[in-house]
């Protein structure tokens, strides 16, 4: 019973949070300077023409009215039409999601395993020279700006060595289909994924390492040691398993940012993902599109948090329902 209550409360919380985030975003965007009608009308437009554009898109109605109609639409699943692309916002976003996901999901998974493996290898002997060295190197890697790393990789591998393409998702000239298309995209995705993965490895390394060290200092470990078990079997049978939950948690939380996390890398490598869509939407004051992207990213982050909370209550019996 208690658990069901918790679930209900948590879900209500989720919806409320998303709702408020939406309203705040609407206000920030719509109260901003910059007139989408004037931008759409272009240079050499007369005032009369701009007014006509404004009327056409309903921009001359007062803000509260626009907010209400927007919220009603969202509840019906209609995210509106983009001013600049003249397509439904949901279609535009749906097109870009796989692109961004390809980069962020793949890099997160790679970073997860690399970070975990590295941590397992080095932190068994906590605070040894190797462990500390790797730890510090990871911290340094974490300090590299993603866009700069991407740029340097382009410079080295794309330009100087000419091994990888420097931008884009596909080579337009020979757009194959099926297997060739997949291979082409994969080829173009190597540098961006390497960039994103490199920056994320330190995160997973750190959380895995900290948990391992924490677990290693627990009482049960010294008990087993005294009972004569070898350090490696203690590690494999107990410490490792207990250390998996936090990194998985972090991974799940990161999934929430899976749609927004790659914006800078998308810009550097010219991939048509969510980040770039948002940037162009901001510059042309495409309100429905901006709102749509925020809504989707807020929902994913909230959902990820929600699932992590639920997961924790299921898996870790020590956590109480508050």
């Amino acid at each position: 019973m208690e658990w069901k209550d918790y679930l209900l409360r948590r879900s209500a919380q989720l919806l409320l949070t998303v709702f408020f985030a939406l309203i705040i975003n609407f206000l920030i965007i719509n109260l901003a300077p910059g007139d989408p009608a004037a931008l759409m009308a272009g240079e050499l437009a007369t005032k009369e023409y701009i007014e006509a554009v404004r009327e056409r898109w309903g921009l001359n109605k007062p803000i509260p009215e626009r907010l209400v109609s927007y919220l009603l639409n969202v509840l019906q699943g209609n995210l509106g039409y983009s001013y600049t692309y003249l397509q439904s916002v949901s279609t535009l976003i749906a097109e870009r999601i796989p692109v961004t996901l390809l980069l962020t999901l793949t890099s997160s998974i790679i970073a997860f395993f690399v970070g975990l493996l590295l941590a397992v290898k080095t932190s068994q002997k906590a605070f040894s020279k190797v462990d500390l060295f790797v730890s510090n190197v990871m911290l340094t890697i974490y300090s590299i700006p993603s866009f700069w790393l991407g740029l340097m990789l382009i410079g080295i591998f794309g330009v100087a060595l000419r091994i990888f393409p420097t931008s884009g998702m596909v080579n337009v000239r020979s757009t194959g289909s099926g297997v060739f298309l997949i291979l082409d995209i994969a080829y173009h995705s190597i540098l961006p994924i390497v960039t994103l993965a490199t920056i994320q490895v330190p995160i997973y390394y750190k959380i895995a390492r900290n948990t391992i060290v924490e677990q290693s200092s627990e009482d049960y470990v010294s008990t087993f040691l005294m009972a004569g078990m070898s350090t490696s079997s203690i590690f494999k049978k107990y410490v490792l398993r207990n250390s998996l939950l936090p990194p998985v948690t972090v991974f799940a939380l990161h999934l929430g940012y899976v749609l927004s996390g790659a914006a800078l890398v998308e810009v550097v490598f010219g991939w048509p993902g969510m980040g770039r869509l948002l940037l162009s939407a901001v510059y042309s004051r495409d309100y429905p599109l901006i709102m749509g992207i925020y809504l989707v990213t807020s929902i994913t982050v909230s959902l990820a948090n929600f699932f992590v909370d639920i997961l924790y209550t299921l898996l870790d019996p020590r956590v109480r329902y508050k």
């Binding site: 910059g34 007139d35 240079e43 023409y49 701009i50 337009v172 004051r285």
Partner: protein, 578 residues
């Protein structure tokens, strides 16, 4: 005997190898086939070419659709859908005669009804061309017969034809749009899969990546040489450049950073050409704000700016210093006698000293009523030049005791602050000033939305208004020249740079729009062909043609050898040993 045969063979080989290149090997005859990839910076918004400003869609529309008349690379008016037109002597009636064999890509013929529908809809739904073709000035559009259409204006409008050939005036298929009350209705498939009448037809659009077109075999002016035309979309100039250099494109329609131009020039297989283009960078003063309403201050600032240095530093030297009150690229309208002040720092300082702008102890002047001369330069952040120009101006104005702070806003915010709210000191702006000097009226004159300086000289306005309705060419010219004299005297705006446009492409492609003046519009690839395509005639004929000279010489040698052989044989047979 043997030696002479050997000699003849050697001579033959030499001749072939030496003379073949003499006859131009690849020939100036177009070949068929190939794909041209044009790299550009963004997606089109939709495929309705007339409803909204769509600079990314425009080059694509220029290959998908036709206008009544169009502009070539020199901004001259050339026929497009109309092969001939008449203008009545009172300037009120324009009659267009359309090609009879033009069809839409779905086979339906293009008729005068499409023209009528297009322009009436531009008027009704306020298409982008509404303002500059003065759609409200069109009294009626009459269809005389299926291929003849008449426009009757209320008042003469001298620039009407120029603007008809420019932007947002593509003839659209009535049969695709007439079932929808709103020509931007997203349910209309024509917005995503356009039906046009142009040399290329639509294949696919992968958003954010590319738009593919293919040759229209039934194009009324003849099938294009290319098989496919692909517009590849790359988000920013740097990535676009690296893509082009990596061989992923054939035409670079994105201007790369200026410093890369020499590198492109010296890359083998790449050609770079530049042309003056009727666009300028100019700064405007907020004339409603003290002290910018003081002409002496503006004049001093004009003297303090070294336009060549600005171009050298901020644009790597690619551009021409603005010389007068209009772009020099539209030659007939440019008045070279109405000159901007030349660079003269001493004179600038003297003017300010004499006018009571005292120099303070920190090197910054004060206005006569005591405020520090610290001004804000507002620009939009569409590219690095805008800020770079500001950095140079900052340094130059420092030399006459004016402190400048930079304020960069993205274009929407800039538009709101400067144009709408007129809340600025000095602002940098650019813009296309063609195709007709009537453009000045929409930018600088009283009442124009873009006249952010609040320039209100009535004489200037009247001159431009008159020139807009006068149909006599030399009268118009004189009016525009006088207007420029006033413009450079008042200095509400100071033009800085006459822009240069770059054309960058691979040498293996010929017949590009900028090489085809007088024939196609300035983005059209209808006449473009690829060196490595298939020849129009069968290969052996081409081979014969290409190596005609060599073949002739070879034949001559062979005949010569045979004759020589026969002759010497006779001689020899008549002799014994010698």
């Amino acid at each position: 005997m043997r030696t002479s045969i050997v000699g003849a063979v050697i001579a033959l080989l030499l001749t072939i190898s030496l003379t073949s290149p003499l006859v131009v090997s690849q020939g100036l005859t177009p070949k068929l086939g190939g794909t041209l990839v044009v790299i550009q910076v963004g997606d089109p918004k939709s495929f309705n070419p007339d409803a909204q400003v769509d600079d990314m869609g425009f080059p694509i529309f220029q290959n998908l659709f036709n206008k009544l008349v169009t502009l070539d690379i020199d901004y001259n008016i050339i026929p497009d859908l109309a092969y001939k037109w008449d203008v009545s002597s009172d300037g009120l009636t324009y009659t267009f005669y359309l090609y009879k064999n033009a069809t839409w890509h779905d086979g339906v013929p293009v008729t005068a009804w499409d023209v009528k529908w297009t322009f009436e809809t531009i008027n009704k739904s306020k298409g982008i061309a509404y303002s500059w073709i003065k759609a409200s000035n069109i009294k009626s559009i009459d269809v005389i017969d299926n291929y003849t259409v008449k426009f009757i204006l209320k008042q003469p409008f001298a620039a009407f034809l120029s603007f008809l050939g420019w932007y947002g005036t593509f003839v659209m298929p009535k049969h695709m749009y007439s079932n929808y009350s709103d020509w931007l209705d997203p349910k209309n498939p024509a917005l995503q899969k356009p039906v046009g009448s142009g040399p290329f037809k639509f294949v696919e659009w992968v958003k954010g990546d590319h738009v593919t077109l293919e040759a229209n075999p039934n194009y009324f002016k003849g099938q294009p040489y290319l098989d496919k035309l692909v517009f590849k979309i790359i988000p920013d100039a740097n990535t676009a450049l690296s893509s082009f250099l990596a061989g992923e494109g054939d035409v670079l329609a994105v201007r790369p950073p200026f410093s890369e131009i020499p590198k492109l020039n010296s890359t083998s297989g790449v050609i770079v050409r530049s042309r003056a283009t009727p666009s300028q960078w100019y700064i405007g003063f907020n004339l409603l704000r003290y002290p910018f309403n003081d002409r002496t201050l503006r004049l001093a600032i004009a003297y303090a700016i070294n336009r060549s240095y600005v171009i050298e530093k901020a644009m790597s030297g690619y551009g021409f210093p603005a010389r007068g009150g209009y772009t020099s690229a539209i030659k007939w309208a440019f008045n070279s006698n109405a000159a901007l002040p030349n660079y003269n720092v001493t004179l600038a300082n003297k003017l300010l000293d004499d006018a009571g702008y005292k120099l303070g102890p920190d090197g910054i002047r004060q206005t006569p009523n005591g405020t520090k001369l610290s001004i804000k330069y507002t620009y939009f952040t569409t590219g690095p030049e805008t800020e770079a120009i500001g950095v140079v101006l900052k340094e130059q104005l420092k030399k006459i005791g004016i402190e400048v702070t930079l304020e960069g806003l993205e274009i929407g915010a800039w538009e709101q602050k400067v144009v709408k709210n007129r809340d600025f000191d000095i602002a940098l702006c650019d813009g296309f000033q063609g195709p007709d000097p009537d453009n000045m009226r929409s930018r600088f004159a009283l009442g124009a939305y873009l006249n952010f300086a609040n320039y209100s000289n009535v004489e200037y306005y009247d001159l431009l208004q008159n020139a807009s309705v006068t149909t006599d060419f030399s009268t118009r010219q004189k009016l525009y020249w006088k207007a420029q004299e006033i413009f450079v005297h008042d200095l509400a705006y100071i033009p800085l740079v006459d822009l240069v446009a770059f054309y960058i492409w691979k040498t293996e492609f010929h017949g590009l729009p900028w090489e085809s003046a007088g024939k196609v519009n300035y983005n059209s690839y209808a006449l473009t062909w690829w060196e490595k395509g298939k020849s129009i005639e069968p290969e052996y004929i081409v081979f014969l043609k290409n190596n005609a000279l060599a073949i002739v010489i070879v034949l001559v040698i062979i005949i010569g050898v045979v004759v020589a052989y026969k002759v010497t044989k006779k001689k020899w047979s008549g002799k014994t040993t010698s």
